[in-house]
Symmetry: C5
Subunit: 369 residues, 5 copies
């Protein structure tokens, strides 16, 4: 009979842990911005240069960072994009463009909080590009450093394989595009805009995941739902950690009085600012929905459990009087009334049936089931 209880069915509920990646928690929690040596040197460094003005464009993929120095004085706007971080190269570039040593540390750091740093001749900002890893259902981040100097924008990316700046490259190729016709700070704005826009794509993916979990919660009692919710709440921490500092970064651009930023471009930075504020609002909505969902899930689990227990208790309770009556007429006393009566048995059985019926009637009248 035990076989029918299908222990495996219950047992499986006990194997939920593999869902969680405590390793993921570790990734989220192990943040130490000051310990530089942890960063592995990139195997490969790819340097691409766009040297352009409204009239002409030169695009090159360079073999080493040294080759890009000549563009400093090209008289045109230059975008130097460096994929892959290697200490020597970063120091080399920064030295050449007069970047403060602390900025070099920031570029090479890991898990740095987004930040903005202005100096006399350059503006440095560090952000994280976010990607949604659909296999692991996790939000991954790649550190992007952008340096805006006179007629030059230098961008550093950790990983050359993922590049969100491709559409910008296409725009650069078109001589009529705004980015070609405007100075370097418009290019810098374009980079920021692309990064922030990409946040919404990540959030959309997360939104779909939340929807999936909500369906699980509402369709039935998925015992893993809370694990999924916990996991999603963890990913929301990654968003939160990135979004509000980015707002500060963009706000820094807006309030900056640097000569590198043209006044007529404030409108564009204001636009990015509006987007990041909306992203923050939205991520708070996500958070609210997760909390509602968790409440609902716990309530559903309890409701279902309660119903099961109630039915079991009622069945047990309904049969108890019959057991007592059976016991009464099973006693071995010499003189038990009706024992020798022809209909005694039927009367007893009838009472056995009648009592539960009355009980059911009473219980239902009280609205218990």
């Amino acid at each position: 009979m035990n076989v029918k209880l299908r222990p495996e069915k219950y047992l499986k509920y006990f194997y939920l842990p593999n869902l969680f990646a405590p390793k993921r928690t570790k990734e989220i929690l192990s943040v130490n911005p000051t310990v530089i040596p942890h960063r592995e040197e990139a195997k490969e460094v790819v340097v691409t240069v766009f040297d352009y003005n409204a009239d002409s464009l030169e695009e090159k993929t360079l073999s080493g960072v040294g080759d890009c120095f000549m563009y400093k004085t090209s008289g045109r706007n230059t975008w130097i994009n460096i994929d892959g971080l290697r200490k020597a190269e970063v120091e080399d570039v920064c030295a050449h463009f007069d970047i403060h040593p602390l900025v070099i540390e920031d570029i090479l750091s890991i898990n740095q909080r987004p930040k903005l740093d202005e100096s006399d001749n350059s503006i440095f900002c560090l952000l994280n590009m976010l990607y949604y890893n659909e296999e692991k259902n996790s939000v991954e981040q790649e550190q992007i450093s952008i340096i805006l100097a006179k007629e030059v924008v230098i961008s550093f990316q950790e990983d050359a394989r993922r590049d969100v700046f491709t559409p910008l490259r296409d725009k650069l190729k078109s001589p009529l595009s705004k980015v070609r016709q405007r100075p370097a700070d418009y290019l810098c704005y374009s980079l920021l805009d692309m990064i922030v826009d990409n946040y919404f794509i990540v959030m959309e993916k997360l939104g779909e995941r939340i929807e999936e979990v909500e369906e699980q919660v509402t369709r039935g009692v998925n015992t893993r739902a809370l694990a999924h919710i916990t996991q999603l709440r963890k990913e929301l921490i990654v968003l939160k950690r990135n979004f509000s500092p980015v707002r500060e970064v963009i706000n820094g651009f807006l309030r900056s009085e640097s000569e590198l930023l043209e006044d007529r471009h404030v409108k564009y930075y204001k636009d990015v600012y509006d987007h990041i504020v909306q992203a923050i609002d939205l991520s708070e909505n996500y958070r609210d929905i997760m909390v509602s969902l968790q409440d609902l899930h716990i309530n559903n689990v309890n409701l279902r459990m309660n119903e099961v227990m109630k039915v079991m208790a009622i069945v047990t309770c309904l049969l108890a009087p019959a057991t007592v009556i059976g016991g009464i007429f099973g006693m071995n006393f010499d003189s038990i009334p009706y024992l020798h009566n022809e209909f005694g048995f039927w009367v007893a059985v009838s009472i056995m049936l009648l009592i539960p019926v009355i009980m059911i009637w009473l219980f239902r009248k009280r609205g218990w089931f």
Copy 2:
């Protein structure tokens, strides 16, 4: 006997999911202000023009946006209302009235956060009109863009079928109305005022819905109540998302130093500001009440469940001694005392009855039921 348990009665509790619209969650969460192509082009664009001053009024429904350009220099105040958004038309109008390209993007965007944007020659603001869909019990939003320029107000609506500005049209027809006698910024105020006033109508509908749910919660144990509460909390997110940015928008009008806004109208904008602040306060009250209600619901469910389980446990427990006694005298030992006694049976049965009575007396003395 199983039939009497009426499994359908319990089973129905398991079909609550259809209440929730995870699709609704998706609608609320899928917000991407930067992806323009998602917007479907409106099938129809209706342009209505009111060209007026204190003395005269010209009202026209135009076939195309191009026909409204002539009003730019009419010397009277002009309200151009465009129902239905089509990229080409929006660009056309904006180009003619010297509106910044980023504003065009905003007008055409979807799910944009309410915002205010001032430039030298115009003030642009974007808000959402809210409607309460009584069938789906959801709050729907329609994006409204308003541009205030010199002697011109241009308003863009997504959907021509729903128009809340009708009362304003009536007012415009009366030469004595303030809106006729005052410059264009008073018209702009009137539009904002109508939108914000409409929020209260939506909230009133939501308030009635909350009242219904509260009645369900208090009248009995409606197992779907939590689903309703969760749904309402989701709709409150829509309100929250709209209200606080609108406050910022109105505040922007108040602090604006644009020449387009007359000083004597500050009082009116202050009035709208007071209303939106009250709407925010009120929506927080809604939130508080929802939380109380959820607590109360969960408590009621538990209370009722507990009472049922308690009675079942007590019945089972009261009958257990009788079962034991029945078992004792049902044993087949040769010598069992009183078995052959004439009153043995009655004594046993009396004890069976007496023990539960004593138990009940004890339990009641302790206040257990």
Copy 3:
């Protein structure tokens, strides 16, 4: 036997709903400051005028609002108190005293948020007087509008039957009182002071009610306690909704640079400000206590329920072995040991008693009861 279970005793728990007034929720939630027509015209309008200076006092109850206009130029301070709001009368008075039309709308509105409005020649403030309705255990509010103009204070009350300004009238009759010897803004301060002081009386009543509920919670398990707590939390929303805007109103008086307010009276407004801040603090304390109380209540209900269930489970569990033993020796096998033994029965019964005793001993040793 079912009769002894006293179903009514349990059933009554299911009739708690009538406690709640969802209607109350409706009252609290249905707030629409912009819809004027909802206000019923007052049946009766009572106008009382106090025209005074340090030397003389004229007190009159007027038949119509028109008769009070002559006091505008009396050269003395005038307090015009109008009980009962009728559109025509309010417009009449305001027109005569040069009050802005938006202020008229505010005076006639319902459920308006407390607000302050300064213009060149007058200061307008709107507050709610709060009353505690002991029958319904609810906080009722009556809208009070106060206009301070040069040498004139006009106050509008909704309801003539409840008047908290009586003590002020007595003070006015005494020529030595400060209010007689100082200009009109001191009278305005006195009105505000009385309204805010009255808040504490309402809070005291609420405090007594909280105390009652706390006694119910701690004295025993009152299943209605949570309903009472929910109801009280609803009333606290009414307080919260009034108090913080009133703080802003008083702060507005403090920061005002209007000539209508004398510098030496700042101290008095500061005093009212301190009181309203204390009221806000206190209402947050109420909130905290309600939350603690709810936690405590839920815990008590669970504790009591758990104890009952534990005892029931233990009794059932203790008797189970006896049932088994009874069953064993009740089997009809031919050869069952000890069946024919003289003391067999007593041994069996002893074991039946012994096992529960051992179980009790074990359970108690483990501290289970």
Copy 4:
């Protein structure tokens, strides 16, 4: 058998209410700063005067407040400490030292929020001294009013029996102490410093109490623990109500530009400010710990309850098959297999034992106990 259940043991859990003092709640909630008549006149008023400068000290206990007026013009610093509040005396003193009538009201009020009030010739501040009543485990407060005027500090205390200023008196007697060598505002600082320092003593006592409760929670299931936690949370409200206004008071001293305060003493007020900020931080930590503790307590109660119920359910469940088997072979059918078999009984009993053993083995394999 019922006797063995020791009903008293369970019953005692139902008598927890006496722990709570709803009266305490009343004390905390009944705050009305505007109703003066509630204050009982002190039976005794003790006036002590310290008239000092760096060279000389005169200490006197006066019979009436009138006798202290002569020190106003002593040319030395004077500290007038008045223990016990009587309306006539307070008015007398304040009139003599030119104190504003509103300040008199504040001094005589009850449960006043700590406040600071500057006028041209004096600084008035009102604080509460806190005491921990170890018998009632409650935080008691005594209102202290301090007036700093030119060369004079006047302090009012409600209760002469408790005096925390004794150490200051000792310092005053030493001619080398700073307080002797500096002007009156240093004395004022010393009083504030002593009051704030005393807060830490109260918090230390509360900390010890929290530790006791934590031990109760962790050592075993003390059903009263939640009551203790609720009580402590109530006391924390008293702290919160006092600390943040005191911070404002001290901050007021820091920002004050009164000539009564010497610049070189800012450092000392800054020190008091640091202390009160630390007290606020600490009281928030207390609050956090109480919340954790409550979670832990509720979890422990549930855990213990669950374990008991689980064992009971398991015992009942293990014995159920034996009951069934006993019933099977106890039926009175003519032909039941093995009934006449010699070992039939033993086989049945073996099965009765075997099934639970198998069940235990299965349950344990699944990790259920």
Copy 5:
């Protein structure tokens, strides 16, 4: 049979308290910054002096504090590090370097909140170095006081055995290091930087601990998990208490206009500021994760318990009908149908088996297990 229940297995759950250290709570809560005498005098005071400029370095370990006074006028930068706090020595040093007596009190205090104090000739700051004690799993703090004066940095540490400044000593020995080539405020920055960097090491350890607990929670039902969570939340309080005041301290350096701080070093202080802000963010993430984890743990415990109870209830319920049937045919009526039928027994037993099978089928159809 009771032996098989393995009481020890359950009993062990009742011995969880020893996990908690209420003593730890006491340590966290017993904070009294004003009571100096509690500090034990250090047994040993070690004074090390680094007197350096870009060209030369003199390093000395002195026998007494008096010997370091001569470096005041060395004309080079001097770092005096004093390990071990003794009242006399601290007063001696401070007197010599013209430090305000209140600073001395701060240095000697215990559990002081991090603070910054500027005077004309020096900047004083007090921070806590944090250590993670892996044995006790607690965060320990050591108070560090730093005084920056003209060409002098004096640092006081409580405990000479733990010194995090060793790497700085190594840097000082290299004539090319920045710290050698720059003035004293760069040294001060280096000390602050090291302290803040060390916070991340502590957080990393805590992060590992959280990961361990998460694994416990997800791997199975560790009944002690909540105790671990509570303990970790207590440690997070220690972090919170330190981090936000440290942010204020660093911010104070940034806004300071003291001549002791060179403008070109603002960048470095800004860097430390970024780090401490990141630490604050991170500790809030920790807090969020702890809350999620606690929810998950409680849910897991309930889930597991529910499953066990459900199976027990189902087994009990399935066997109840068989008991009733056994009882029916065990009654001693003369005429019971089928009693004398050959297959009567088998029919009865079949029904006994059939009913549970039907019940299981019904229950499974309803998705109850």
